[in-house]
């Protein structure tokens, strides 16, 4: 199995914002990158958001899409606080301070011929690039996208273009089926027929439900986790997630360096 992280390690680079448009409640940012960062789907960047003392640490943001030929980076950013607020309101022309690509992404080899992608809310971000790479390999995914409401859905358009099929759900029914995306999946078990792997990003509750579904079907499930981060590179041990099977005094994995994508069986999602 290939190590799903980038060879050569991360770099620090400035990316020039060229486009900033709404995508539901989130913002879709397009940036021009001079360096050939060659990310793996699921990897992320640590962005310096300025703001001086009030946003001292960097913010982890997934690589939503990457066009290596044109050096175009896409991010989907949901403004939930000071840092993402600053990012979401950045003006085209400004330079975004990036560290990355970081972490271990999705293992494309483990996806199999019929991969199923599941995104919850802004969690859809890394799935766009993942779907693109899977499609390039001739295995376009079946994609399930959920959110609380229509403006909470992200990446719908790109994922529709890149997937063999897309199922949408919102909790308030304002778009697609009504309910949580995992409920909708359970209501239509036939949809998962033949699936070779589940690859997901979204709230912990969603990932926990998928872990159960995958276990029942005996297929592997991978999820991208979130945790507060300081370094983003594995040095500070700040982003711990408990291991399902602790070994010789080691009880935690690092979301930034051992993940953010984990086989869900290896982590406790409580």
């Amino acid at each position: 199995m290939l190590d799903p992280s980038r060879e050569g390690g991360p770099e620090v680079f400035g990316a020039r914002l060229v486009h900033n448009a709404p995508e539901g409640r989130a913002r879709r940012l397009l940036l021009v990158v001079e360096e050939d960062i060659a990310p793996v789907p699921g990897q992320f960047l640590q962005l310096g958001v300025g703001g001086g003392g009030e946003t001292y640490l960097r913010r982890p943001i997934s690589i939503a899409d990457w066009d290596g030929a044109r050096g175009l980076l896409e991010l989907l950013v949901l403004p939930v606080g000071k840092g993402t607020g600053l990012l979401a309101s950045a003006q085209p022309g400004s330079i975004i301070d990036c560290l990355g690509p970081l972490g271990r992404g999705f293992d494309l080899d483990a996806a199999g011929p019929i991969p199923v992608l599941v995104g919850g809310g802004i969690g859809a971000a890394p799935l766009v690039y993942l779907a693109r790479r899977l499609a390039e390999r001739g295995c376009p995914p079946l994609t399930f996208l959920g959110a609380s409401d229509h403006p909470g859905l992200a990446g719908e358009k790109s994922l529709t273009a890149l997937s063999r099929g897309v199922v949408l759900a919102t909790e308030d029914g304002s778009r697609g089926a009504t309910g949580m995306i995992t409920e909708v999946m359970l209501r239509n078990p036939g949809e998962l027929e033949g699936a070779t792997a589940i690859m997901a990003c979204g709230p912990r509750g969603m990932l926990a439900a998928l872990k159960g579904m995958a276990r029942e079907r005996g297929i592997p499930a991978y999820g991208s986790l979130e945790e507060h981060m300081a370094c983003g590179v594995g040095a500070c041990l700040g982003c711990a997630v408990p291991m399902s099977r602790p070994e010789s005094g080691k009880s935690y994995l690092r979301v930034c360096a051992d993940g953010p994508v984990f086989p869900l069986e290896e982590v406790i999602l409580a």
């Binding site: 960097r58 370094c231 711990a240 010789s248």
Partner: protein, 300 residues
């Protein structure tokens, strides 16, 4: 590396005064290739205990104004893994290595020091005395001169390596604690460790950190760190590794003028991984201003 930046820190000759501090630079490799460990005058590896420590449950960190709180809980794989896995990799690199030592009893500290005795590539030990002293009911070793005396004396007897004692600022009188460390045989003092703080998640109505309290670091604490270095410089004659909130070459000079002969950087690496490069290039310009490093100049 600019030869002109070299500085003497006790018995160690460092290629430059900048030191990566414990817990923020792993075992030296995580930031590669952005920050190769060689650029530092020395690196201090993560706090190391006799047996593996699991650390605290998450959340372990939270951002604060101009800084952060951490409650990692000294997660580390234990001294055996350090010796077997990390030290050999570091020994292959051209970098001075200081091992930060932790323990819950005097015996545990002594055990780590013994295991490291004579191991190639360990340039010094740094005793982290902020750990809870389980025998004394949980107050940290670093808050009582008597406990410091006892601990430093015992470790001193167990190792030939230069012994740095890293003090906590969470005390009424840091000079008194530093004098106790000096009398017990420490070769150098390092300060400061983090300030005890906490953050509350007002939506959840509870502390952000699973551990409730955590250690404050970053530029926010710099004034406290400078004051501690200044006070300890006046109270002892030991060389000082000064740290806490360092983010620029100007900060490095400020710590040197307060009395440090080596200066650590930690949290600022997270905010700006290029900080060490910038600092070292700016430091060269400062260095040219002086005949020798202006250690303790602010005391004149």
């Amino acid at each position: 590396m600019n030869e002109n930046l070299s500085i003497r820190f006790g018995s160690l000759e460092l290629s430059n005064p900048l030191v990566a501090v414990s817990g923020t630079f792993g075992y030296g490799f995580d930031y590669e290739p952005v920050i190769p460990p060689e650029i530092f005058g020395a690196i201090v590896v993560k706090g190391t205990s006799l047996e593996p420590w699991p650390g605290n449950p998450p959340p372990r960190i939270v951002e604060t104004p101009a800084g952060m709180l951490n409650a990692i809980g000294l997660e580390n794989p234990g001294v055996e893994v350090l010796v077997e896995e990390y030290l050999p990799r570091l020994a292959a690199r051209d970098v001075r290595v200081i091992v930060n030592v932790v323990g819950k009893t005097v015996e545990e500290y002594v055990g780590v020091a013994r295991r490291l005795q004579g191991i190639e590539g360990v340039d010094a030990l740094e005793l982290n005395v902020s750990c809870p002293n389980v025998k004394a009911g949980g107050m940290s070793f670093g808050t009582s001169p008597a406990a410091i005396d006892n601990l430093v004396g015992a470790v001193r007897a167990a190792t030939d390596a230069p012994l740095i004692v890293k003090l906590t600022p969470n005390v009424t009188d840091i000079a008194e604690v530093a004098r106790a460390a000096e009398e017990a045989g420490a070769d150098a003092i390092s300060l400061i460790n983090t300030l005890l703080g906490m953050a509350i998640d007002v939506d959840a109505g509870k502390p952000v950190l699973a551990n409730v309290v955590g250690g404050l670091s970053g530029p926010a604490v710099r004034p406290v760190a400078l004051r501690c270095v200044y006070q300890v410089r006046a109270a002892t004659s030991l060389p000082i590794l000064g740290l806490g909130g360092v983010a620029s070459a100007e900060d490095v000079i400020a710590f040197i003028m307060a009395g440090a002969s080596a200066v650590g950087i930690g949290t600022a690496l997270f905010a700006d991984p290029l900080a060490p490069h910038r600092i070292l290039s700016d430091l060269a310009a400062y260095r040219a201003r002086y005949d020798e490093w202006p250690v303790g100049r602010a005391h004149l």
